[in-house]
Symmetry: C2
């Protein structure tokens, strides 16, 4: 890309363009409300004991020799690929070095996010091979969709994070698409993002691109990329994911160690048993990262859902996963590490009432449990098989509401509003009183999607449902989109790196 | 109605018919999870102090001379219709006599409900002048709709209560429709129900019909009807509602004293101020019932929502009312009375994603706050202007999920499921293991509405949304409906009473 083409109008004009579309900066949520904890001390201890029993008696399979070596050195009992851990070993390794909270740097420092403690960060859907929108229906995702979803996510202020595989760009070869994905996050957004985990070399490519963007030393001293490392539940980790995690840990980058659980298939059909297994798996994966590089950032993650025992299909928004999210969040706090779970999950194929009920039934328990990093917070449809343009917009509206909820009740004099009650008195209305005049602009969350008009007005305007309104919004947004400024020298260096790397090996879809 | 017509097939055949359609009896939810409390001791005390200030300095207007007289006798400062209360007076009156919990009797004792403490009771939507269904759209509600909604509510096991004005039967005269409403609840359901509050005489008619159903002495000694008494917020109670409440209190029947709040119109645009006002209003209304008859059951209620400060339209499912519900539930527990609030509220005109998001955003905070009596728990649409057949079915499914959530995590040996984890081991699946075999039938909540099939299967079956599926369900249910048995002598006596009363005064729509 010629450097000059980015310079039309000079710096000032660029800034003006940016201000026109850049989202307001509330880089992440700082929860002022307490966490909702469903289990008591006794219940949480019981689950911790059971996790210890799993680690000690049953063990975890590690299909990755370097991990077996590290665990043996640390004092675990390694037999073939099965690793059994003395009681408390993983916990000690983690608590000795893993940070309780850490900051992920964005290329725009105003968008740095804190991960852990009272902070909550929302990231969009991760992984779908399909996309869906109201105009073109469901189809295989392309890199153009990927770019669109990154752009929209950047423009939505309630999404704090650009995410990772917002959809699979199926028009690009599997072994090279990570370059285009990481580049898109860097180019079309200035929010923090996630890296490739599908091969250790792709993880290294991600780190190398980050070094071009942030500088080599900065990357070694700071966390600039977060990465999703799934366990092969039950009780198994594979080479691909661990290899990627090792690359990131060695480079001081963050891994989310996430048991991926559909209860009934990958874990028992019981919440307490599922939680013990998740904790056991996550403990070992997190310990692995600390053995690779003590002090590197790591997140206790879980993706938890149930399945239909009739059809074997995954189900979402049911009460059982809400219990698991809540319990695991409390277990992570006791351990002293950040926690990832939840999202706006649903099984519906379209953005109908099922999608919304199920998403809300996942998102609200997520917020109330105090989850720190929320992947799939917007755009998830069809059990994660589709990224939905309309749902991204709808969910982002819900995330805005969660931000207000998490701020809790304002108990200041203005929040107490006794002056208003005194001024208005019995039988009158508050519409015109001074307190209302002073506060009405920020008083209530204003939904971008909800239609609160009268039935007659709504009918007059075409009887649209929420999906139709969301469709209009994302199209207008893409139309208005202006990219955030990226140093042309960096842009050029990234493109050069990508071109060189892509040319160095053949395309493959494995 | 001829007595013999009810006797076809004899008692045994009747019982068989009943069993065919009668819902499983889980008469109400006993929450095993803790309440989520957003405000701390200091915050709750501050709001209580502010409520005292409102009562002491500003006062409440009572447009009802008998109330003014009672309050004066109790030590309040009465000037015209304005009543100011010495600090702590209302609280003392309530705490001296109001029950912390009480049982509402149903004509089928298996359906009696506990109100208060750890119990939660779900009742359907109350008040809409319109109904909506997928086939006929939106239209004025008729008595036929009322009967249908009572029948469906009876058949839905997650609804514990038959409710009251499930829709307004607009084809009947205003001054006589209460007879048909109360009769429908008695005749077509055996769940507990609500009485008329639109005139003291209509309250008396309700009590008289209850006496026919339950017996005179039984009614005096037991609570058989719950009644919704709205305050004319801000800080005003009117003659109609108070007169009805007085009738019920005198007869030992329950009043829900409910400030009806759209923040911004009836209260300040701030949650803490709104809570103080709600508490002040509810305290006086509850105290009134205890002055009428010490010890009669009373519920601290509130209907709380916000409004669009742009259009003045009420809004639902936004975060601010969730804060108010949570705070008021905690205030009610501190006072020591049952609490009513929440529901499945929404502003959408149709059962789309907006309706579902908003409803879930009201219902989940309701459950987590530990609300005891949840009116509008199912069927509410369009800001309460429409009762929706489809939404009744959809919401009832959600209520079933809340029941599972409220049961919390099973920490028994079976819930811990270590045997399953031992049996399965690393890398295998849990589908066929003994624990799964033993538990799969009850392991996970099974939604009646959700489609969890593959995209292809869903498409093959017609690409239906949740509304279409709900439409099929309620039609099948009405088709299958068989009424619960009612003693023909009682039925005859009720019909006789109604006919006599209806003939004794002219129809009127006031």
């Amino acid at each position: 890309m010629p450097r000059t083409s980015r310079k039309r109008g000079g710096r000032h004009a660029r800034q003006e363009r940016e201000q026109a579309t850049a989202p307001a900066v509330t880089p992440f949520i700082t929860r002022k409300i307490p966490e909702y904890v469903l289990l008591d001390e006794e219940g949480l201890s019981l689950i911790e004991d059971n996790a210890d029993t799993i680690l000690q008696e049953i063990g975890i399979e590690y299909h990755y020799p370097p991990a077996l070596k590290l665990f043996k050195q640390a004092g675990a009992d390694v037999k073939g690929e099965l690793v059994r851990f003395p009681k408390g070993l993983c916990r000690k390794i983690i608590q000795d070095s893993a940070p309780r909270t850490f900051e992920q740097k964005a290329r725009n420092p105003a968008r740095n996010v804190m991960i852990g403690g009272k902070s909550t960060v929302f990231a969009p859907v991760y992984g779908p091979p399909f996309v869906r929108d109201l105009d073109k229906g469901r189809r295989y995702a392309m890199i153009e969709d990927f770019r669109n979803l990154v752009k929209l996510t950047w423009m939505l202020p309630s999404l704090h994070h650009s995410g990772g595989t917002v959809c699979e760009p199926t028009d690009l070869p599997v072994n090279k698409r990570h370059f285009d994905m990481v580049y898109s996050h860097i180019k079309y957004s200035d929010k923090p993002f996630m890296g490739s985990v599908t091969h250790p070399q792709r993880a290294q490519d991600t780190v190398d691109m980050c070094k071009i963007l942030f500088g080599e030393e900065f990357v070694d001293q700071n966390t600039v990329v977060i990465n999703l490392i799934n366990a092969n539940s039950p009780m198994t980790f594979d080479e691909t994911m661990l290899g990627a995690s090792e690359v990131y840990a060695r480079n001081n980058q963050a891994s989310i160690i996430s048991p991926f659980i559909l209860s009934g298939a990958m874990s028992p059909v019981a919440a307490a048993g599922t939680m013990a297994q998740i904790l056991a798996e996550a403990l070992t994966g997190m310990a692995f990262t600390q053995l690779v590089r003590p002090g590197c950032p790591v997140i206790f993650g879980t993706f938890s859902s149930s399945m239909s025992m009739q059809s074997g299909a995954p189900t979402f928004g049911t009460p059982e996963p809400a219990l698991v999210i809540n319990g695991c969040a409390a277990l992570a706090r006791r351990l002293g590490v950040p926690f990832r779970s939840g999202g706006s999950l649903c099984g519906s194929k379209i953005t109908d009432a099922q999608a919304a009920y199920e998403s809300a039934n996942t998102l609200l328990p997520t917020i109330m449990a105090g989850v720190n990093f929320v992947l799939h917070a917007a755009g998830w449809l069809e059990g994660g098989l589709s990224s939905s343009y309309e749902k991204l917009i709808m969910d982002a509206d819900q995330l805005g509401m969660m931000q207000v909820f998490a701020a809790g009740t304002d108990l200041s004099e203005n929040g107490q509003a006794l002056s208003a009650i005194r001024e208005v008195g019995p039988g009158q209305h508050f519409l015109g009183c001074s307190h209302t005049q002073e506060n009405f602009k920020t008083a209530f969350y204003r939904s971008s999607i909800a239609d609160n008009n009268s039935f007659e007005q709504w009918q007059l305007e075409g009887s649209h449902d929420a999906t139709v309104r969301a469709n209009k919004i994302w199209k207008q947004m893409l139309n208005d989109y202006q990219p955030p400024q990226l140093d042309p020298a960096i842009d050029e260096a990234l493109l050069e790196f990508i071109a060189k790397r892509k040319a160095s090996f053949a395309d493959s879809n494995i």
